[in-house]
């Protein structure tokens, strides 16, 4: 299994365990640009490097943050909660890589809401996930 497929499997597991079983994950598809101001990203760095991010409409981000935190998240705290989800998912992925492939990685500090349109690397894929509160798009590139 490729590292990308491992990541998507781990992401799906984390979403079901930590956010909601009520989801429908779409197929990964290439993505070139996303609007700025609405997404959070984190790099996986070390023996293996990957870019991860999530973005969505404001209302879906609010719903996702509250579903993950299990309490009503205030607008001021929302992005920190979303970054926590990325961090937990990427941490589990890093442990999986270490245990299964002896690939050692760590994580960067999450980045919040870069301004302007963001052009992604050419190998970036988007994994759309539908929840009752809206659609969240997860981005991954190696």
């Amino acid at each position: 299994m490729s590292k990308k497929d491992l990541y998507i499997n781990e992401l799906t597991s984390c979403l079901k365990e930590m956010v909601s079983e009520d989801l429908k994950a779409g197929a990964a598809a290439p993505l070139s640009d996303i609007p700025g101001g609405c997404y959070i990203s984190q790099l996986i760095v070390g023996d293996y490097t990957a870019f991860t991010a999530l973005y969505a409409e404001e209302s879906a981000l609010n719903g996702f943050a509250s579903a993950y935190a299990k309490f009503d998240v205030s607008p001021d705290d929302r992005d920190e909660i979303l970054a926590d989800f990325l961090n937990m998912t990427n941490g589990r992925f890093a442990v999986l890589l270490s245990n299964s492939q002896s690939v050692e990685c760590t994580l960067s500090v999450p980045e919040y809401k870069p301004p302007g349109t963001v052009t992604l690397r050419s190998d970036s894929v988007a994994i759309p996930v539908e929840f009752p509160f809206g659609s969240i798009c997860f981005i991954f590139s190696e």
Binding site: N87, A94, S98, T106
Partner: protein
């Protein structure tokens, strides 16, 4: 020392991680808890409050947890420091212990893990 006398410092840039750790510690009768969100703030708070147990994340803004552990150990060789990270690999465990941490827990920390940490801190 009774558990509820312990002074505990939590250092994590994640609001959710701080909240979860605080709530779990409260169930263990630990209520004297201070919170900060970066490594430098942890060092400053440690020097101010001299906590019995300090929990530190690794990846944080301003100053990471490994650097903070080294600086706290240099200031107080008897500091009781626990690294708590989402990346619970052997490499991270070794790095944490080498830097001076007493133990390492992968997030999310369970009640049982915290109970063991408190027991070890009280009996050391």
């Amino acid at each position: 020392m009774a558990d509820n006398d312990l002074k505990i410092l939590i250092c994590d840039d994640s609001l959710l991680a701080r909240r979860a750790l605080r709530e779990n510690l409260k169930t263990l009768n630990c209520t004297n808890i201070f919170e900060v969100s970066d490594g430098q703030a942890a060092i400053d708070m440690y020097k101010q409050e001299h906590p019995d147990i300090t929990f530190l994340d690794i990846v944080m803004p301003v100053k990471d947890g490994i650097t903070a552990v080294k600086e706290i150990c240099a200031y107080d060789k008897d500091a009781y420091l626990i690294m708590v990270s989402s990346v619970g690999t052997q490499a991270h465990l070794k790095e944490a212990l080498k830097s001076g941490a007493n133990d390492f827990i992968q997030k999310p920390a369970t009640i049982e893990q915290l109970k063991a940490v408190i027991t070890n801190a009280v009996t050391k």
